[in-house]
Amino acid sequence: MISDKLKSTILKELKLDEFEISEEMTADQVPGWDSLSHLNVILAVEQDFNIRFNSYELLKLKNIGELQSLINSKTVKSSR
């Protein structure tokens, strides 16, 4: 499931008021999330969750659900 925190980070970065985000959704299905704004969304996620991705992790992502799992794995590690 997509957490409220991730959802609000994405919506805030893309200046969207309300938009339902599901796990299977890909970036291009979200209004305003194009190849240029992708950079800002990723930076915002890194900042809000206080984590850092490596390029390989980012390039492997296939949908927003996978981004959520990646964040989960990183936040679990850092809270240990």
Binding site: H38, L43, K60
Partner: protein, 474 residues
């Protein structure tokens, strides 16, 4: 064996019939044989190169797939990418590098006679190497879900409908189709045939016809007036589009005959309202390739520079995109110019919003944006087409001479005619949301138009030299 030749029409008819006649198990073998026969027809030695690269990439792909250690996986990917890029660099860019090096030495005052090799360009190398690289990278990024045997992979790497000039197919799209059982469907034959007819129309009757005028004027611009040079520049914009879109449509048609569905490579590119929009409509298979395997990795690497990260990634991607087209500084400059256009647009978003507010009428704003985009793209094409920089600057100088010639009105009439036909085709594609526009016409009209096109195309092919496809030389 060019697509616009009788021998190819014979070849594709024969392959299509045999393809559905042989047992499904043997179809990929037949396809592989056809791919190599098609390639042998151009060059036997370079077919060997294709086979060697295919074998190496397949072997390394398997190794990457089986490896569980990430470090080892990455090293194997780097190795596979380097081998493919080296092959491309040697066959496509060796002459360029040595010649540039020699001129640099001469410029610095060193007289030298470094040895040079005259290396021939293997057909389709830029296209098939990008296809094999996509296979390696899709395995690495785990986007390729199917595992294929050697024959299936070799069919993918040498697929004859796309090997000459794309569309650059992805392993994750084409391999599953190669693996699937294909039934004979009359609809595929119908769609394939109409795509081939539309492609021939664009290539032979618009592209080649424009090309005849373009070639004369670009060869000696000094002898022509501004209006004539202007006509040539605009006609080239339509020549390159119809030549390449015609080829792509034929490639799609040929693949359709065999039950394959490949990329739609063009979506009315001259209707674009920005340069970025143009790249979403022009040579789509290359744009997506560059975006996924070059732009996004660079963008992620430089993301800490925020907007400048996007600009760095864009400038590198498009300059390399220019270099991919040909080993010459004019192509590099063409790519750089596109990167510059888009970077400029990114840096002036606020100013753009301001100007948008000044034009409340949405329709006129769209037309203005499309016109500006068309102007920018046409200007960049001058460098793409010109033999060298001095030729390009001579063309630009001529344009700004504002001179008119005896035949000015005739040239404008010719220009208007080709533009109307090309735009009409695009409008129908847009309106009906399909590239198989002939299928949208009522049967008697459709048959009449198809027969008429074929008749004129055949008459043209019999009586004049067959012009090669522009993109086949990249």
């Amino acid at each position: 064996m060019q697509f616009n030749s009788f021998i190819f029409l014979f070849f594709i008819t024969l392959v299509s019939v045999l393809y559905y006649l042989v047992p499904p198990k043997l179809r990929n073998y037949l396809l592989l044989l056809s791919n190599y026969l098609f390639y042998f027809y151009f060059d036997f030695v370079f077919a060997m190169l294709l086979f060697v690269l295919t074998s190496i990439t397949y072997f390394l792909g398997n190794k990457i797939n089986d490896s569980t250690d990430h470090g080892k996986k990455r090293n194997l990917v780097v190795f596979a990418v380097v081998i493919n890029i080296l092959a491309l660099a040697f066959f496509k860019y060796f002459n360029f590098f040595t010649e540039s090096f020699i001129s640099l030495l001469n410029l610095l005052g060193f007289n030298n006679n470094l040895f040079t090799l005259k290396i021939l360009l293997p057909l389709g190398i830029s296209f098939y190497i990008f296809q094999t690289l996509s296979y390696i990278l899709d395995i690495y990024y785990e986007t390729l879900e199917v595992k294929s045997n050697f024959v299936e992979y070799a069919v993918f790497a040498s697929f004859f409908p796309t090997i000459v000039a794309g569309p650059i197919e992805r392993a994750s799209r084409l391999l599953p189709q190669i693996k699937s059982q294909k039934e004979f469907k009359l609809n595929n034959i119908k769609e394939g045939t109409y795509l081939i007819i539309i492609g021939l129309f664009r290539k032979v009757l618009i592209g080649d016809a424009c090309g005849k005028i373009v070639n004369h004027i670009f060869a000696d611009p000094q002898y022509y007036s501004s209006i004539e040079v202007f006509t040539a520049v605009i006609l080239y914009t339509f020549q390159i589009y119809n030549d390449f879109a015609g080829y792509s449509s034929m490639a799609r048609g040929v693949a359709k005959l065999l039950g394959f569905d490949i990329f739609i490579n063009f979506r009315q590119p001259y209707f674009a309202t920005s340069v970025a929009d143009f790249w979403r409509r022009w040579h789509i298979s290359l744009s997506l390739w560059l975006k996924d395997y070059l732009f996004v990795p660079l963008q992620m690497k430089y993301r800490r520079y925020r907007m400048w990260g996007n600009i760095i990634a864009m400038m590198i991607t498009f300059t390399l995109c220019g270099f991919w087209h040909g080993a010459s500084w004019t192509f590099i400059f063409w790519g750089f110019l596109h990167g510059f256009y888009m970077s400029f647009a990114l840096l002036s978003v606020k100013q753009k919003q301001y100007f948008k507010k000044l034009m409340p009428n949405k329709k006129s704003l769209t037309i203005l944006q499309a016109a500006i985009t068309f102007f920018l793209i046409t200007f960049a094409w001058i460098f793409f087409r010109a033999e060298n920089f001095s030729n390009a600057f001579l063309i630009i100088e001529k344009l700004f001479e504002f001179s008119t010639g005896e035949f000015a009105f005739r040239f404008i009439k010719i220009l208007f005619m080709y533009l109307s036909v090309s735009f009409l085709l695009d409008y129908m594609e847009y309106k009906w949301d399909t590239d198989i526009i002939l299928l949208k016409l009522k049967p008697p009209v459709r048959y009449a138009i198809s027969v008429a096109i074929l008749f004129i195309v055949f008459a043209y092919l019999i009586t004049s030299d067959k012009a090669p496809f522009i993109y086949a030389q990249f």
